[in-house]
Amino acid sequence: MSTVAAATGSNGHEPSYLDYKGKHSGILGWILSTDHKRIGILYLISLSLFFLVGVGFGFLMRLELISPGRTIMDPQTYNSFFTLHGVIMIFLFVVPGIPAVFGNFFLPILIGAKDVAFPRINLLSWYLYVFGGLLAIVAILLPGGPADTGWTFYVPYSIRTNTNVIIALLAAFILGFSSILTGLNFVTTVHRLKAPGMSWFKLPLSVWGLYSTAWVQVLATPIIGITLLLVAIERLLGVGIFDPALGGDPVLYQHLFWIYSHPAVYIMILPAMGIVSEVIPVFSRRTIFGYKFIAFSSVAIALFGSLVWAHHMFTAGMSDTGQFVFSLLTMLVAIPSAIKVFNWVATLYKGSIDLATPMLYVLAFIFLFTIGGLTGVMQGVLSIDIQVHDTSFIVAHFHYVMFGGTGFGFFAALHYWFPKMFGKMYNRKTAKTSFWFLFIGFNLLYFPMFIMGWLGMPRRYYDYLPEFHSYHLISTIGSWILIIGLLLMVYNLYRAIRKGKVVTEKNVWGGETLEWQIDTPPIHENFSEVPVIENDPYQYKMNEEILEKEETS
């Protein structure tokens, strides 16, 4: 972190947020700072570390599955690994991901504010995040071993197993609390701190994405909080609420779990969709097509997404009416998502497309998300769901949406905003190389899972029939290519922070939103004077016309 602090990049009179000297210096100046930008960087560092741990578990799982039978670990370890992989990736990477890192760093800047509404609560949320994350990992070292329930903690198994389930539950509870605080902060920030002239329909689309997400964070997370707490209480005291032996109903647990965890899927994807809407106009030099449709589709996704949870439970026992309603609602969510995809593609049409790294990631997002999204609609069909339920088809769908979607969106944001955040430029060629490794590795890793899932390969199984061997082999090889891409990307960005080319230019990509009008890297309070907003956020067409006029005159 000291390297980050030492990075210079001040241009103009005021020092950048990286050089700013507050009450504390050195590392304390970072971990006690309430500056939203520094908190964003803290999140970026801690999140990346947890992400790499999660990748490690995924890598080992895939390695185990390279051939049938035992390869490198016993079944119990495998069960713990897929649980840890799930818990870490969901609660520590994908859910906080874009809001905690880029939301923190850029939301105030994008609306023309100096900070979020509650800076101290913002810092608190980071501490809770780190504490929860360490708790989840510490469980590995304790006697009893890490939880082996899967990240869903389904009862009754989660109240019977002898592993450290309570610690994992508490970790998820604390991380949920951190997520609530972030959401609460963002909703209030967007309502209260917009710069003069910044009306709702002048907000950049990533703000709409973050705003919708923040509401889901606030409204859905408490339900999983209480549910996980109840499982912990059940284990400690045996009150019977979820224990079938005492009259409780395990299916109720599933309902409560998914009442949060389905909207959580939209917590994960909406901010990434915001990033896509942000990047596409910049790199195709076009005004975004259908601004209001994209903005309202975020809200619609947040709304419908909260009403579809039971589609995770079609095989768990439900009335026909229930199945029908939830199946219908599930398909309805596809409409606002499709609206976004059509609008993005329409924005690209006749644009002058620059295939810079952020744009590559965004195009990959659209491609992968479309596959993930459409297979999601397939699963919403009752008859197909019964065929593919609990198979690796679901795993493939989920990773196409969450990794191909949110993950690639995160990488897009990282490459898009990196020069603004650090005042340094990464090696663009290496960045593109790592992208291709990631993209090819990703498809090799997850696409075979669609096929073998369709043929009946169950998810979470330690062993498999010989007929699935070739698919698993391809998949594992894909995981290696993917990891090479990831490491190359991390190396490239780390190198850029240490000795990358210094960027002092305000507007590296020619963007129109507010972050490109301030210093690189931003000064402590973002703006030297409060900006007054007069124009809509994406005015590229007009630029071109002005340029053309200048050229002709």
Binding site: I121, H191, I226, I241, G247, E525
Partner: protein
């Protein structure tokens, strides 16, 4: 260093509407937290109506009603303390806050006696006495302990918060033109009160 500090002071940002908005959002999360429990309650009540009826008879309605009155009064004194500070009556406000704390403690003491009476009859999660009863009754008492317990924790947090407010009022950090913290604490306290208003009939009055 000194110049930076002075700019810091210059930009200290105060937004009462924003603070209240944040508090309301937080209260939503609290409502949903308890909402999950109320959902569980209603499902099991629907599933085991007769057993719930039987089990509820074991609760002491008079004690519950008394506690309801205590908590409602504490909400009144809390609201009055805010009115007092608005009228710049610092001492009166502090006094009313302390009365609120006293009533909250009184509520918890009552709760303690109620719970220990149940415990002495062998009714607590996992006890032989309780496990010999029907599923519906086990669930009723399971929910009773968890929900009133969670509510009790909220009362404790409330007591702590109000105590902090009293201290801040004494130190002059809460004044007649800057009382949003006290107001937010009041909002929290009313929420704790309202949740009890729902818990009381659901557990004590369904007989």
């Amino acid at each position: 260093m000194s110049t930076n500090e002075s700019t810091l002071v210059e930009h200290v940002h105060r937004d009462d509407v924003g603070s209240r908005m944040g508090m309301w959002l937080f209260l939503f999360t609290e409502l949903l937290l308890f909402g999950g429990m109320f959902l569980l309650y209603s499902v099991y009540k629907f599933q085991y109506p007769d057993e719930f009826f039987l089990a509820a008879k074991e609760l002491n309605t008079i004690m519950g009603a008394f506690n309801t009155a205590v908590l409602l009064t504490s909400s009144l004194t809390m609201a009055l303390s805010i009115v007092a500070i608005q009228r710049n009556q610092k001492v009166l406000s502090m006094l009313l806050q302390m009365v609120t704390i006293f009533l909250a403690l009184f509520f918890l003491v009552n709760k303690y006696f109620e719970w220990s009476a149940k415990f002495s009859h062998g009714i607590y999660p996992g006890s032989e006495e309780l496990l010999s009863k029907s599923s519906g009754e086990i669930l009723f008492f399971g929910l009773y302990y968890v929900m009133t317990g969670l509510h009790g924790i909220h009362v404790l947090v409330g007591i702590f918060l109000i105590a902090v407010m009293t201290r801040m009022t004494r130190m002059g950090k809460i004044t007649h033109d800057n009382y949003v913290r006290l107001e937010n604490t009041g909002l929290y306290w009313h929420l704790v009160d309202i949740i009890w208003i729902f818990l009381f009939p659901l557990f004590y009055l369904i007989t």
